[in-house]
Structure formats: C-alpha cells, structure tokens
C-alpha cells in the first residue's frame, strides 16, 4: 500500500496502480497538470494496508 498527499490537501492511498490512477485524475482535473507514474510513486510513502 502507498499513500500520497497533494499540496492542496487531497490524499489517497492504495496499490501503486490505484494511487497512480487517482492522483493522475486529481492532478489533471483539479490542477490542470500531468504527472508521470514515476513522479507520483517517487512521492508516495509505504503505509500499512
């Protein structure tokens, strides 16, 4: 399990694929920016499931 928190406070946790999908959508829909999978996972922290 991974967790990532956006500077705007939005947060998500899940598998690598779930986190990437959720943050990709958030970054584009709420901030109009695109993030790569590598960028997203580089900022994700492992958490207990």
């Amino acid at each position: 399990m991974k967790e990532v928190t956006c500077l705007c406070g939005w947060s998500t946790r899940g598998t690598d694929d779930e986190v990437v999908a959720a943050l990709t959508a958030h970054a584009w829909e709420d901030h109009g920016i695109r993030k790569t999978r590598e960028e997203i996972l580089a900022n994700a922290i492992p958490v207990e499931g």
Binding site: E3, T5, C6, L7, C8, G9, W10, S11, D30, E48
Partner: protein, 184 residues
C-alpha cells in the same frame, strides 16, 4: 496458606497488547495546522481541498521535522511548531502540530486558503472515550489554549512568539477553564 516471603515475585498475566513493538510502527498522520497572526487576529492557512493537511511519516523521521519541511514546501517561515493534541480518526492516530508561521508574503501559496480562526467550543468526551466528532476548528481552539499556557510557562515559546502574547491571553489556559471558578 502461602508464606508472604514465598509469594511469586512476578505475576504472569496475559499480554496487554497483541501488537508487538516494532520500529516500523509509527504514527502515520501528522496534521500540521499553519496559523499566523494577522492585523485582525489569527488566521489559518488551510489546504484548499481538505479541512487540514495529513502527512505520512517514515520511521526515520521526526514529526517536528516533517512539519517544518511541509511549511517550507508552502513557502512559509515557521516561528514555532508544537504538538498540541492527538486523536483517533478513521483507524489512524492523527498527531496535530500547530505551526505558528510568519505572515505570508503578498503572493501566498495557491494551495492554501487564508481563513480567520473563530472561537469554538471544545470537543469533549467522557471519562473513557473521546468526543464522538472533532472538527478542525475545535482542534485549533485547543491548540491556542495550549499555546496560551505555554507562552506563560515556557520561555522558549514566549521568545518564539513575542507578538502572540497579547492575543493568546484571550485563551484562558485549558487546565483551569474546565474546572470553572473555585467554590465559595
């Protein structure tokens, strides 16, 4: 009948917890509350898409350092960071840090909403249970009451927040407020 001097020295009882101590068990949510003192009173710099910021913490990190680093990410200058409360929320322990920061510049970070801090009634539980709900306004109220006590009791806090002393005097220290006026 057992002689007192032959009584077992150690009584074996069931384990108090079923979770072993481990270096990888950490508080997973640090909640920094960025506040500054504006001309008209305290202001909360809230993340625009959440009531408060929740940060994960790796086992090799200190929570205060996490808060200071987070403040830097928003271009804020911390004056003091201090843990003021914790609560259990959605299966996680949330450790709250109030982060008193210098007033932001003319172009504050776009991810933060600048809002006044209003007074709030404290969330109260009973003798064995926490309040059923706690919102961020109540956490901030508790934090300011905590600082109001510290600014009188702790020289380091007073030195870090010289401009806050007058404002914080409006927040009667929590240990005395709860008991009300003395009898008689």
């Amino acid at each position: 009948m057992e002689h007192p001097e032959r009584a077992p020295l150690v009584e074996i009882v069931p384990a108090l917890s079923n979770v072993a101590w481990a270096p990888d068990i950490v508080v997973q949510s640090i909640e920094p509350l960025f506040v500054y003192l504006g001309p008209d009173g305290p202001r909360h710099l809230r993340p625009i898409h959440a009531p408060s910021l929740r940060l994960g913490m790796r086992p090799d990190q200190q929570p205060g350092t996490v808060v200071v680093q987070a403040a830097a990410r928003y271009g804020l200058t911390p004056l003091l960071v201090h843990s003021t409360s914790w609560r259990f929320d959605a299966g996680r322990v949330v450790l709250t840090y109030v982060a008193a920061v210098a007033p932001p510049g003319p172009e504050p970070n776009e991810n933060l909403a600048d809002e006044p801090v209003e007074r709030a009634a404290l969330a109260r539980g009973d003798a064995f249970a926490p309040p059923p709900t706690i919102d961020v306004a109540q956490v901030l109220e508790h934090a300011f009451r905590h600082l109001a006590w510290l600014v009188k009791d702790d020289a380091e806090v007073r030195a870090a927040l010289p401009d806050w002393v007058t404002f914080l005097s409006a927040y009667e220290p929590e240990p005395f407020r709860a008991f009300g006026a003395p009898p008689g």
